[in-house]
């Protein structure tokens, strides 16, 4: 695509015997907000460091505006990073921190002063020039770290879990603010997080990573509504993953489990009858079957209450855990009770089994 600003082609990286990245490829368009989502150790930070040049890759290519920068040193790349720990220089004032990059580019003092004032305005900390990083709160340091990066007008801004150290309320506020900044500046953001809510809220596209490969790369609604495999369903949608055998009633694909057949939505490559079938169902769509309805038998394991939802953990005859959630605390079920649960066809997605490697 012509407006591709950053391209990664089959990036591989090992630390010793550990393969951290096993073929990472994606392209980011100008002004796009891309999130690399995954739990710790999935390789997302290494990917970011390879883009910035702070880490080298074993094979593959990094392209910036179509130019191969794979072997270029970090200072030559038109890319800036917002570090997780902020990495503000403690021996410099806020103005010196922000002006650091511009000074290295040989910009004149008045020009730097003007740019610093402007960017401080942008991150809503005007007049903070002479403060020391030690005198700032976590949220303020965060903004200065962002200011220090964007003042250089990079082609791509890399953000390594920038909100990780902030408390929940501040994090929500900064999410909105970051999104606003990104729209205003039109810079491509590559954002790293392990928080799926953050990823779904902010991104244009999300790459869900696990074990150094993308499990799925797509828009938030693709990832959330049509998870490609069990891992994505579980990690992004907090969905239940049920395994059983594929069976057909007429043309309808069914999940056979505990002697019961439940119709499910087929994906592009539905399995043949008798093969293993993996289905994702979100907890709010797990219903309890009445006397007359059919349902998969299970035992209530425990009940807990969180965020206005009652969470009922069930265990099927095959030993799989299934979570059903209900509004309100008052639900007449107690641990040890035998129940049968069911779900509607449109809420049961056939997904690929989890990649075990």
């Amino acid at each position: 695509m012509s407006d591709t600003i950053l391209g990664l082609r089959d990036i591989r990286k090992s630390f010793g015997d550990t393969e951290v990245l096993r073929g990472i490829s994606f392209a980011a368009r100008a002004g796009e907000f891309i999130t690399l989502l995954g739990s710790s150790g999935c390789g997302k930070t290494t990917t970011l460091r390879i883009i910035s040049g702070l880490e080298t890759c074993d094979s593959g290519q990094v392209l910036l505006e179509g130019r191969d920068v794979t072997d270029e040193v970090p200072e030559k790349r038109d890319v800036n990073t917002v570090f997780q720990s902020y990495a503000l220089f403690p021996h410099m004032t806020v103005a010196e921190n922000i002006g650091y990059g511009l000074k290295l580019k040989g910009k004149k003092k008045p020009e730097i002063r003007k740019a610093v004032a402007e960017v401080l305005e942008l991150v809503q900390l005007p007049g903070f020039e002479e403060r020391r990083p030690t005198e700032l709160s976590g949220g303020q340091r965060q903004r200065i770290a962002i200011a220090r990066a964007i003042v250089n007008a990079p082609k791509v801004l890399l953000l390594d879990e920038p909100l990780g150290a902030l408390d929940l309320q501040l994090r929500r506020q900064m999410q909105i603010e970051l999104k606003r900044l990104q729209k205003q500046l039109g810079i491509t953001f590559i954002y790293i997080t392990h928080d799926q809510e953050e990823a779904l809220n902010m991104s244009d596209r999300i790459g869900v990573m696990k074990n150094g490969v993308f499990q799925q790369f797509g828009t938030p609604s693709e990832i959330y509504d049509r998870p490609k495999n069990a891992y994505v369903a579980r990690f992004v949608g907090s969905a239940n993953v049920l395994r059983g055998r594929a069976a057909y009633e007429g043309d309808t694909l069914c999940l056979e489990s505990g002697g019961v057949r439940m119709p499910v939505l087929a994906n592009a490559a539905p399995p043949a009858a008798g093969e293993v079938l993996t289905v994702a169902v979100r907890s709010e769509y797990v219903d309890f079957a009445s006397e007359t309805e059919s349902g998969i038998p299970a035992v209530v394991k425990e009940k807990s209450f969180a965020a206005g939802m009652l969470r009922i953990a069930l265990e099927t005859g095959e030993g799989e855990e299934v979570i059903a959630s209900r509004h309100g605390i008052d639900f007449d079920l107690s641990p040890g009770e035998h129940v049968r649960f069911r779900f509607r066809k449109e809420h049961a997605l056939c997904v690929e089994a989890e990649d075990e490697t």
Binding site: S52, T81, A87, P90, H91, L104, N152
Partner: protein, 286 residues
């Protein structure tokens, strides 16, 4: 809730500390200061007669030149020790923990031997037809023995040798505390490795370097035994003069005046150190 400690309780707990400071630090210093304004007795001891003559005497060419020579040597030694010690401490801190521990041990081992003994080792190396001469002649770098012993370079080498570990260790301890993400941030913002070192690493490890400078400069003004052993009687340092005045000439007031001047110079250096490093700003940052 912790009960509030009353004033007199604090005083009781702190009394030993105050007493120690008074008896062993302030007392002797005041004594020395007072002594430096007294007159020397004809034969032995001091006459309680106020005079500025002791300070005036320092300006006599003999002593003044010694002072300047001592300062010059101390400066040279400090520069050499910094140039050698900083890189060593820096790379030691960047090594993997196992090898780092080994190197630290190697630095510490010499301390288990008397420094006097180690200096005698240098005599074996430096003396005419000693190890150094033999080595250089065997390599055909020189024809005649250098006769390094009892020369200015020998004294400088001895001092650098004696003081290098202090620099290495103090640089090491401040480099070890470095947050290397800051260097990565500098590179990310467009700094070359050298530029990042100068603007970030060096600035942030300045307290360690300055501690090393003080630990080097101050003793090198007074390490008279190095000059005595490796310099014979040819190199006379301020420390030697003080020792001589006190122990041989028995001119206590003059020795005291010389000591006061030396202390003043040291204090100025420490004040400069605090000015340069601005210690407060370095601490507590991630």
């Amino acid at each position: 809730m912790k009960p509030k400690r009353r004033g007199w309780e604090n005083a009781v707990f702190l009394a030993p500390l105050y007493l120690f400071t008074l008896v062993f630090l302030i007392g002797p210093f005041v004594y020395m200061l007072v002594l430096s304004f007294m007159t020397r007795a004809e034969t032995w001891g001091v006459v309680q007669e106020f005079t500025l003559r002791n300070y005036a005497r320092i300006l006599e060419p003999l002593y003044y030149n010694t002072l300047i020579e001592s300062l010059k040597l101390a400066l040279l030694v400090t520069v050499l020790v910094s140039l050698l010690g900083y890189p060593f401490g820096y790379f030691m801190a960047k090594l993997p923990p196992k090898r780092r521990a080994l190197l630290l041990l190697l630095v510490m081992i010499p301390f288990w031997t008397s420094s006097l003994m180690r200096l005698y080792g240098w005599i074996i190396i430096f003396r005419a037809n000693g190890l150094l001469d033999k080595l250089l002649m065997a390599l055909h770098l020189i024809r005649k023995p250098l006769k390094m012993l009892y020369t200015y370079p020998a004294v400088a080498v001895g001092m650098v040798y004696a003081l290098l570990p202090f620099m290495m260790l103090s640089v090491y301890s401040s480099v070890e505390k470095m947050d290397w993400t800051l260097v990565e941030a500098a590179r990310d913002l467009g700094a070359s490795p050298a530029k990042a070192f100068l603007t970030v690493t060096l600035k942030l490890t300045m307290p360690g370097l300055m501690t090393g400078v003080i630990l080097t400069f101050v003793p090198s003004m007074g390490l008279f035994f190095v000059a005595d052993i490796l310099g014979g009687n040819k190199i006379v340092l301020l420390g030697s003069v003080i020792q001589e005045q006190l122990m041989k000439v028995h001119d206590w007031p003059f020795a005291a005046a010389l000591s006061v001047i030396m202390m003043a110079m040291t204090s100025i250096l420490i004040l400069l150190y605090r000015r340069i490093t601005g210690a407060k700003e370095m601490e507590g940052m991630i």
